[in-house]
Amino acid sequence: MAEREPTGGRAGTAGEAPVVLEMRGITKTFGAVRANDGISISLRRGEVLGILGENGAGKSTLMKILYGLYSPDAGEIFLDGERAEIKDPKDAVERGIGMVHQHFTLIPPLTVAENIVLGAEPRRGLAVDLQRAVRETGELCERYGLRVDPRARVADLSVGEQQRVEILKALYREARILVLDEPTAVLTPQETEDLFSTLKELVASGLSIILITHKLGELLGVSDRITIIRDGRVVDTVPAARTDERELARLMVGREVLLRVEKEEAEPGGVRLQAEGLVVRSSRGTVAVRGVSLEVRGGEILGIAGVDGNGQTELAEALAGTRPAEGGAVRLDGEDVTRLGAKARKRRGLAYVPEDRMAKGLVPDFALYENHALKTYDEPPYASRWGWLRPAAMRRRAAEALRAFDVRPPDPDLPARSLSGGNQQKAILARELSGDPGVIIAYQPTRGVDVGAIEFIHGQLLRQRGEGKAILLISLELEEVRSLSDRILVLCDGRIVGEVGPEATDEELGLLMAGRAG
């Protein structure tokens, strides 16, 4: 895809300004995955370049290469026209590249000034010259229009303020190129506006900015040009003035359809799983699910689409019973199970395939037969009344189930750790579906799984649907949600922001997921 030269873009000067950064033909492979495939981008002085792409498109790998955390397998980087090899983050910083990470690298108990100067502290004799640090921080705030109290503890700051500290860290070290990775993922709309006016100030002072995000609406408001990355490749680079949200959504999300699954018409029965006004907190204490209500009928697959981090985990766990709900109710076949734990819900026919098979779905060092009995080990036929285990029975059942679910190798004595991701996932499925559950919650069921296993797992879910089970599918893979679901709800910022059918267009979905009403 050729890069269209920007003519008469925003701010007039961007077109004639020198190129401060160029990344040419960057390729990076991790094992079987090609994260970056010949990516080329260029950044001019005083420009805001947006890099748009879905989760897993390859954006963060590219930026980690720029920041010296990875070295590219192929391709080159040019800074101010000169070839540069960035050895490590320290090197990147010395070359004037500053990075504001998506997950802040701040030290919560320390103050703003301390965080900013750490590693490059102004001294007075043997001590840190805290006064000078505070003063210099204040000066930076003035110069760039950032408002933050240098003496405040980082832990006490709002997320928006913490982000400003991250920016100040880069400015303190005289960055000329500032890279912001998903900066608005954690900000409120107001904080986002503040951030963008800050960026405009920075650019006016001569900085060049790269903005990485999946939120296309925001990009239009602040970037000069936008480069769209999909599946490790650059799709196109367009001037912001000459495009709109629909086109961006299409470029970002649309792809050749990999898996079109054949499915029959849905014949939904009664409501089997219900959530009413569910409110759930995340492990960090913030409210992640803000009053979600939904219904899943027998014989249908309800898909939940959304960008990562919008409450999916908390929703799934509250429905499954592994996380308490702060408010609202969960009903299984009409019964209120809100106060019941995971085991009790399992006994009432709820199956749950979690998103993290290594940390939640399986005990990696347990054998497959032990994992198969993870929720049923204390029930007959696996255990007697006195608590005596029957491993032979466990092995038998596991062996049957493993074969039925195409787990390779179907050896019940192998430790779960030794299987490939796809087989581990199938083993989890074997466990969850063996008990003939009435309701199935599947959260990212094919994450990190090979194509063959994906097909198998999808087939299994559809079969359950055909048998009249109610299935809730939560996935970050839009294609998966679209091809399997009968109905789709979009989760954004802890709320259901819309319901669409599987025939909905990419634009519609993309807009809903990005928080813009369709």
Partner: protein
Amino acid sequence: MSAGRGGLSSALQAALGRAAGALVFPLVAIALALAVGAVIVLATGNNPLAAYRALAVGAVGSPAAIGRTLLNATPLIFTGLAVAVAFRAGLFNIGGEGQLYIGAITAAILGVSLGFLGPLAIPVVLLACLLTGFLWGAIPGLLKARFGAHEVITTIMLNFVAINLATYLALKPFRTEGLVPGTDFIDAAARIPTIGLGLGRANYGLFVALVAAAAVYLLLWRTTLGFRLRAVGLSPGAANYAGMSIGTSTVLALAIGGAMAGLGGGVEVMGVYGKMSIPFVSNLGFNGIGVALLGRNHPAGVVLGALLFGGLASGAQELQFETDVPLDLADVLLAIILLLVTATRLVELIFGKRVREMASGTRLDEGLAS
């Protein structure tokens, strides 16, 4: 792969493979420790070969030596089990010493008064030691489950409390009129007989220890409780997902560990000393940690490790006899083994990553304030 074979033989295969892999690391650690020990011996102006020969003779060179080894190994099996059970649930039980003292004083007191039970005396008293040890071990378990107090410090503190408590009981209310400070001799009915066969003071307490090891094995791999403990120890995330209670497992793991050490204390009194004199044994609890780690926290490994440690301690006596290398060399060697056994990255650096994966034991990555 082995899809054609019957279930049992592939399970056996897997188990044997795991056992072989598990042995590699401890053997390496022992070998390295012996090498360091040789250097130390050399530094004291002695001949390492002569020293190690004396160690070997002292450990297994005669029936008397073997008897001493078995005698030393017996309490270490108990304290090793005390540590191993807790480790399997992801917890550090450093309280073996105190739990042993609690069991010992229980036996010393009840052994005096329950003699009238005749043949039932031994089982009843042992059961009592099991129980008091269980309760003592439950304390740090509850403190952790309820208050988040880290079990490393609480178990160590309780060691001192237990030792003081037992000492008080032995020196005041239950003091003997005899010359040696401590309790009275327990009734003959409560004494565990020696094995004889020229094995010195080695007694049937050894069999109690072996039975305990077998029981721990059955508990961990054949009961629902053991299943839960292992799941919690290996992956608390998955255990939570499966609806298991982590708090309950915490309390039970430490309590069972305490029971094992308590039983060990009882056996020491009933089989070896016949009373609890002050000062009583020392370091059995801490050496139990080394035994457990060397034995990869598996009952069979604990038995083997205890035999090794017991042999080393027995050999050290001979060592002191024949050379002028101090007795404590054994303790030093054990500490070095412990250090090396835990440095899994060292193994990785020497042997590569695969061996490290084979060698790594239970989940051991929490800090003090977790």
